[in-house]
Symmetry: C2
Amino acid sequence: MNVIELKKKYDEYKAMNLKLDMSRGKPSAEQVSTMERLLTAVQKNEDCFSETGGDCRNYGGLDGINEMKRLFGEMLGVTSDYIIVGGNSSLNLMYDTVARSMLHPVEDGCKPWSKYEKISFLCPVPGYDRHFAICEYFDINMINIPLYDDGPDMDMVESLVASDETIKGMWCVPKYANPLGCSYSDETVRRIASLRPKAKDFRVFWDNAYVLHDLTDTPDSVLEIFHEAEKYGNEDMFFEFASTSKITFPGSGISCIASSPRNIKRILNALKVQTIGHDKLNQLRHSRIFRCYDDVVAQMKVHMNIIRPKFDIIYEAFDKGFEGIENVSWTKPNGGYFFTLSLPEGTAKRTVELCNEAGLVITPAGAMFPYGKDPEDSKLRIAPTFPSCEELSKAAELLTVCARLAIAEKNA
Amino acid sequence: MNVIELKKKYDEYKAMNLKLDMSRGKPSAEQVSTMERLLTAVQKNEDCFSETGGDCRNYGGLDGINEMKRLFGEMLGVTSDYIIVGGNSSLNLMYDTVARSMLHPVEDGCKPWSKYEKISFLCPVPGYDRHFAICEYFDINMINIPLYDDGPDMDMVESLVASDETIKGMWCVPKYANPLGCSYSDETVRRIASLRPKAKDFRVFWDNAYVLHDLTDTPDSVLEIFHEAEKYGNEDMFFEFASTSKITFPGSGISCIASSPRNIKRILNALKVQTIGHDKLNQLRHSRIFRCYDDVVAQMKVHMNIIRPKFDIIYEAFDKGFEGIENVSWTKPNGGYFFTLSLPEGTAKRTVELCNEAGLVITPAGAMFPYGKDPEDSKLRIAPTFPSCEELSKAAELLTVCARLAIAEKNA
């Protein structure tokens, strides 16, 4: 189809007055409805006690109840003493961890980050917009690191952290990284675990958001980070984050931070000023539903069966819609909530514009890059989970039309 | 009784191997058990929607669901646009508000607090140890302000904030202040509402923790602060905090911050970097149980009936135990969770020591003062709510013996 034909097709879609939203990695109503039993997991006063006898209705329990710490430990492959259970949001834990580091030293003998003239974070790109928003909010300079199929460009990472003392942190989504969906290879994990940063107060923010979120029967497997880091004396260099937001209820799940027992002690010392404790009743609900790790895995299969067909619908539409179009490709991850569509340089923004005008909201072009700037203007994040299959099919078709129109306009 | 007789009596208590804890303002198991219906307030998938149709299981809703905003508005006497609903901890909201102010200006044209060489908070004393802990954590200098029956020493407050630009904040517990139990008079509230601080970024932290927590049928009444502040163009000067921790479940309640619509907008702008939203299911549970303000008031009567006899037990024991002892007095508040025992100068610490040795944990002497220093070493915080009536009676008797022994030792 030439520009005129594409424009005609596009106008047909526009005339439908669609209202489609494929912008966020949000579980669908169907997914959250599979967790109805969580609502009634604790119903009676006498059920409100943790395994150690603690009254989960009352104050206390800064680090969380034992059974929830153990469960997160099993999910992440660490023991309970590496875990602090949080509230409903792992993003909030990441924010808090950065905020705390701004005003209090993360390591003995160092200054709080806000007392340095300039500090920087390494940001594998494309990446997660909310990570970048935290950096921007705290005025932390962001340095783009290319993200490949097997993880960040480690030559670049190693040389930067070894030579630049202003580099205090690095964002990592080691498994099914948002938005590519790739996972870090064993070699990548080992190279991160063995980094020799110039800054003693350099920390890796290991956001294991999709640790159990497989989409195929050949899932990726990523090395457990603390086990690797220990070999190099680097256990204190990592803060790991996870949550049940995409396992149970996105808005009412449970989050956790995992770190070395030494860091956990430091965090608890600060945390006790911040709160008397997080919501233990919700922790109890979760641990009543998930008696062990296998119960969680079973729930993840339920999610997989709902989500996977949605990815497939878009892959099919893309196969068809982009047939014969040059310089268009997309990732096909084994898990997670996203994949990435690569378009010819300079066409991503225009594609999003066309989508929006026709009633399809997708993640803004550039959002997966620090400061919202995709240097090549070529990457789009595709988030298939929230819409229904019918909506998705329409959204994917429309997206291909918009992208092809944008490409045709550019080539015209 | 002389020292020897008191010592003998004390040793009798010691021999009982008591284990009593009267240290914290914690609701009793009996109190929290009155809220069993909250556990089952939302049981089905189809019940999980807010009045505007939002799915409370899923992401979103940064400022809280409408019905919970309205309820907090009614509790505090403001409209919903003054409210952001938080997580389970108002302490966490206060911490966050201070932390945010440290790194981002609270007012246009001002610096973040951490960029000043020195900043100070006014701290009415005796006061709440966790307020002081936040200041200490952020290295905020604390200035003691005497707290009287009708509120803080306002001559001192007015003259300090008008002349000292380093003063950026003030803690206030306007109703049933922890630990005296006094409430601010109308004149005090008006004088606070009309303060003319030298620092444009001065803020009052109005911790309305006990806004509905009456203990008698002649409760105190405190003026609504934003209504008063508006008259002086000072609406932006206040952050108010409240929660249902001592209404429903201490560990699984709902908190809120109230402020001027202008401040609310500023806070939301920052909050969106911190979290995708707080636990809306728990908000929904609360608003299903509390359909209106009167439902909350009814629940507070239930608490009153459980708590009030506990205060009375201690008053009686004190009446008896301290009969004829000079320079001993105690407050008798109309609400809240605490009252204060005043002992002769230099005997509070020793009293606590004696209590602890005999198996009674009470709030450490000095804890109600910045840096843990009661300049007169004379005040003890009494927290009657958590122990059973039987335990309380024993604890109160033992406390009188310890205090009298401490006094006798000092006079010996």
